[in-house]
């Protein structure tokens, strides 16, 4: 039986791992190469690496970091942040990434998803969606690391992205991110049941019960950052809890 995946996420700024709350108030969480190695050793099912460094100049150091992590990582490795063209993806895959994650650029120009899926296959194209609930109770897509609101509903964009060739959706609730009060169960469950591709839940995981809830709601995988970086939950212990609740996990 296909297992539910637990995915630590490294948010990278200037070569260091950082973590914020609701996408702001960043604090340092350590060396990404060391963290990546530790998570693979502990039984993480995948590693996601999101570059939140804005400028092109700093982006060059990113390649070095991707290369260093890929050399030692024996689990799948997704890299995202600022990807806007086929050439960016070719470079990252050559450096050892297995999948790439696109967000703002894909929303601005959905043909990018088709181009990437056509060139490299849907299996390596993850579409990341940052979601925030509006005053009307609906979930809306936000761009540019959450700074720019849109009037597009998350479910609509997720369907469009999958039709264009996205092989997976990484759904982050900005309202839940960093708060450790649980994932956005309603939206995640709805998208996971609606979409024919895997949905990764992100934002809000603070204790094992939160992971159990969101995976039982239908998420195929759950992603978290600070609770792993700051050793609040060890991955093997989290998997013990999931297994005790009847969720299939890799041991």
């Amino acid at each position: 039986m296909l297992t539910k995946r637990i995915i630590p996420c490294l948010d990278i700024k200037d070569g260091r791992t950082v973590k914020g709350t609701h996408f702001v108030n960043l604090r340092d969480a350590g060396d990404p190469v060391e963290l990546g190695a530790r998570y693979a050793e502990e039984g993480a099912d995948e590693l996601v690496f999101l570059d939140i460094t804005a400028t092109n100049e700093k982006r060059r150091t990113l390649g070095v970091l991707v290369d260093r992590i890929a050399r030692q990582l024996n689990i799948p490795f997704t890299v995202g942040g600022g990807i806007a063209a086929v050439e960016d993806v070719r470079d990252l895959l050559e450096l050892g990434a297995d999948k790439i994650s696109v967000n703002t650029a894909a929303f601005r120009r959905p043909a990018l998803i088709q181009e990437l899926a056509g060139e490299f296959g849907s299996q390596c194209v993850v579409v990341a969606i940052d979601a925030k609930r509006g005053a009307d109770g609906e979930w809306y897509v936000h761009l540019n690391g959450g700074r720019t609101a849109t009037d597009t509903r998350c479910a609509d964009w997720a369907c469009q992205a999958v039709e264009a060739g996205a092989g997976e959706v990484l759904l982050t609730s900005m309202d839940h991110d960093g708060a450790k009060q649980g994932f956005a169960l309603d939206l995640t469950g709805r998208l996971a049941q609606m979409l024919p591709v895997p949905v990764i839940a992100s934002g809000g995981g603070g204790q094992p019960a939160h992971f159990i809830e969101v995976l039982q709601a239908g998420a195929d995988a759950a992603l978290a950052a600070s609770i792993f970086h700051f050793r609040e939950i060890a991955i093997p212990d989290l998997k013990d809890h999931l297994q005790q609740h009847g969720l299939p996990v890799r041991r």
Binding site: M1, L2, R5, A40, G43, N74, F120, Q123, P196
Partner: protein, 198 residues
């Protein structure tokens, strides 16, 4: 190891991942599409992520299909590589290399809540043969695929997604795995080590 491991260069990706995985277990690989280098290598690895018909066309155009069929040393196909070693693939109705007698079909969830592609970790069972030495009864491997090889005479490992299918095939010196040993943590590394020791 001191042996020469050739990784076949063709128009299907993830060669870098396979090379890095071999480096992690202390081996180095030569990435090549030269027939003489493939024939003289101690081991040949045939990786692959991509689409069957264009990959087969690429191999045929360069005569690599005949070269592969003639190889005598241990040969390992991974993912699409394994599928191309089968008889036929439903992916754009492609005649493949015919090294295994099984066929490749598309997953059909048939209205059930299964996702296609199968993406993630699944257990492999019914393990037979030297590739699986030192592994437990049902180790987990990382899969990403929309097509699967049917069960048959050459099946040497089974996985269940929607229904049971061949997670690995073997016949003579030819081996194929549907999962990605290069991305399957320590269990995957053990399979690569076992292959290098054949």
């Amino acid at each position: 190891m001191g042996q020469e491991i050739a990784v076949i260069r063709y128009n299907a990706g993830n060669i870098r991942s396979v090379r890095l995985a071999l480096e992690r277990i202390g081996a180095t690989a030569l990435v090549t599409d030269e027939p003489d280098r493939l024939r003289s290598a101690d081991k040949v690895i045939f990786p692959g992520v991509g689409e069957a018909s264009s990959a087969m066309r690429y191999l045929r155009d360069r005569g690599l299909d005949a070269v592969i069929r003639s190889l005598q040393q241990p040969f390992l196909g991974i993912c699409l590589g394994m599928q191309l070693m089968c008889r036929f693939s439903e992916e754009n109705d492609t005649a493949c290399l015919g090294l295994f007698e099984e066929d490749v079909q598309r997953f059909d969830p048939g209205g059930k809540p299964f996702k296609v592609p199968q993406m993630g970790w699944n257990a492999i069972t019914g393990l037979q043969g030297p590739l699986f030495h030192g592994l437990g009864e049902a180790p987990y491997m990382y899969f990403v695929h929309s097509y699967f090889a049917t069960l048959g005479f050459d099946t040497c490992a089974v996985t269940d997604h929607i229904h049971p299918f061949s997670a690995a095939l073997s016949r003579g010196n030819f081996y194929g795995v549907q999962f990605h040993p290069e991305k399957s943590a320590f269990a995957g590394e053990q399979i690569l080590r076992n292959f290098l020791e054949l």
